[in-house]
């Protein structure tokens, strides 16, 4: 029924099956939307946040998905600025994942604030000294960039592409995509960093506070670096999951391996920096405030945060995946790669978790004890919402848009081989001329 909309030369499941899957995701989405509406109408009393936990699950989710969505900017940076051609085969998906992550992040922020209708005050009455202002501006503008990067992909839908204006628009946008990508990379650098700065500048919160350079605490750079390192891992992870679900190979191994290699080295350098930072924080910054590392990671009443979480974050989620990814064996061995990218994602999520939730759990005044918090169902539902939303958007995009340039080549449909060949020829031509036009563009 919807065959007109499906890209040429690829096979998709039946519409019925597709709709069944969409409605399953839609159900989860609907619960999330219901919870979201509850929060908007009744206020944040629907959550279990409290005056000790001003930030909670949502902000963690925000930080985590933006870090994971960092694949978009970093892959874009590598593809368009550094000019690594192979990455064009995965850039579309990286952009899509980034788009999902960032739109979700903005949505969560809109639920998280107590006065959503005044949310725009952050722009209008901006306090330029606040890290959150920087986050809001960069996030919004970068989201615009991601949208711009995603639009051409939408315009390449078979039906839409037939409209000359859109066809032309898509082409033009591709032509100057490098400019947008560069702007996006610039913005991303700042907002990933300022998200790190959010915790790092809190000089009243010893767990988060870091010294730094000029106005930027070390966490500023660590967050950018870690997002750049793990973002691609997440892109690979989602690609791998998509391949599992669709039971198709969608991206060639050399592309994945290249990205994994870059990610691995980024992660290794990040984790070294992180270790230096932790050492300096534990043995210089904290004692200056009268605290020891043992007070940060403790089994005091109310605290669930022992040294285990530091070990999880740095060793299991950092050193281990980094070491796997920098070795050729690790990148080529399927299981090792799976383990590495999963651990890397867990590691970064743990890092964002401690920088939000452990930060708030820890009492600063000596006569207070650790604060506990458990999210309400509304918080959990709205946090899962982006997952369902992401699954739906990926499914629709995958079904109707030419996301994976290598799909046709890797999954030839008997009887359509001839066409594939022409595509390959075209590709070769492009590579030779160094044209920046999209990899999926087909002859009209």
């Amino acid at each position: 029924m919807d065959s007109d909309l499906i890209p040429k030369g690829v096979q998709r499941c039946s519409l019925g099956k597709f709709l069944l899957w969409i409605s399953a995701c839609g159900f989860v989405l609907a619960i999330g939307v219901y919870a979201m509406i509850l929060c908007w109408l009744k206020g944040l009393n629907q959550t279990n946040m409290n005056d000790a936990y001003g930030f909670a699950l949502w902000i963690w989710a925000d930080l985590a998905i933006i870090a994971l969505g960092g694949g978009a900017f970093f892959t874009g940076f590598l593809r368009y600025i550094i000019g690594i051609k192979e990455l064009k085969n995965i850039i579309n998906y990286a952009v899509l994942i980034g788009f999902i992550c960032y739109s979700s992040a903005l949505l969560i922020l809109a639920i998280d604030i107590g006065q959503p209708l005044r949310g725009w005050f952050i722009f209008w009455h901006a306090n330029v000294h606040s890290m959150l202002t920087e986050v809001a501006f960069c996030l919004t503008v970068y989201f615009a960039v991601l949208t711009i990067e995603y639009i051409p992909l939408v315009l390449e839908n078979r039906k839409i592409d037939k409209i000359p204006f859109f066809h032309n628009l898509s082409h033009n946008m591709h032509e100057i995509m490098a400019v947008f990508a560069a702007t996006g990379a610039f913005l991303s650098f700042f907002h990933q960093g300022s998200l790190g700065g959010v915790a790092g500048v809190l000089f009243g919160r010893p767990f988060g506070f870091r010294e730094g350079i000029l106005i930027w605490p070390w966490t500023f750079f660590l967050f950018t670096w870690s997002a750049a390192a793990v973002g691609p891992c997440f892109t690979i992870l989602i690609t791998k999951i998509t391949e599992k679900v669709t039971r198709k190979k969608l991206v060639k191994d050399n592309v994945i391996e290249l990205l994994a290699k870059i990610s691995g080295w980024m992660l290794l350098t990040y984790i070294i920096a992180k270790l230096i930072d932790t050492y300096y924080w534990a043995f210089h910054t904290a004692p200056g405030m009268g605290l020891t590392l043992a007070q940060f990671y403790t089994s005091d009443p109310g605290s669930v945060y022992g040294y285990w979480i530091l070990f999880l974050e740095v060793v299991i989620g950092g050193i281990v995946p980094a070491l796997i990814l920098v070795t050729k064996f690790g990148r080529t061995n399927k299981i090792a790669l799976w383990i590495a990218i999963t651990l890397a994602c867990i590691g970064i999520c743990t890092n964002r978790w401690v920088m939000v939730l452990q930060l708030l759990a820890m009492p600063v005044m000596t006569f207070q004890s650790w604060f506990t918090y458990f999210p309400s169902w509304q918080e959990i539902a709205t946090t899962i919402l982006p997952v369902a939303y992401g699954a739906i958007l990926i499914s629709i995009s995958y079904r109707y848009l030419p996301i994976f340039p290598q799909e046709r080549e890797l999954n030839p449909i008997p009887g359509e081989e001839a066409e594939v060949e022409t595509v390959e020829k075209e590709e070769k031509k492009e590579l030779a001329t160094g044209d920046l036009s999209p990899a999926t563009e087909t002859a009209t």
């Binding site: 901006a126 330029v128 501006f137 000359p164 032309n168 082409h171 033009n172 400019v179």
Partner: protein, 56 residues
Amino acid sequence: MFPFAFEWIWDMGHYVFHGGLWYALSIIGAGMTYCIGKAAYDTLIQEKGSHEDEHH
């Protein structure tokens, strides 16, 4: 965001922050205007023009 908001101060913070912001916004704005404008122009040309001029 704009200099007429009362909390605006002409200091280094505002120069740097808003400098960066408006710079990025201008690039994006100009880029998109170019793309849309050119697409509209191209479409017009295509519609009027002959087949030799066919794009791509």
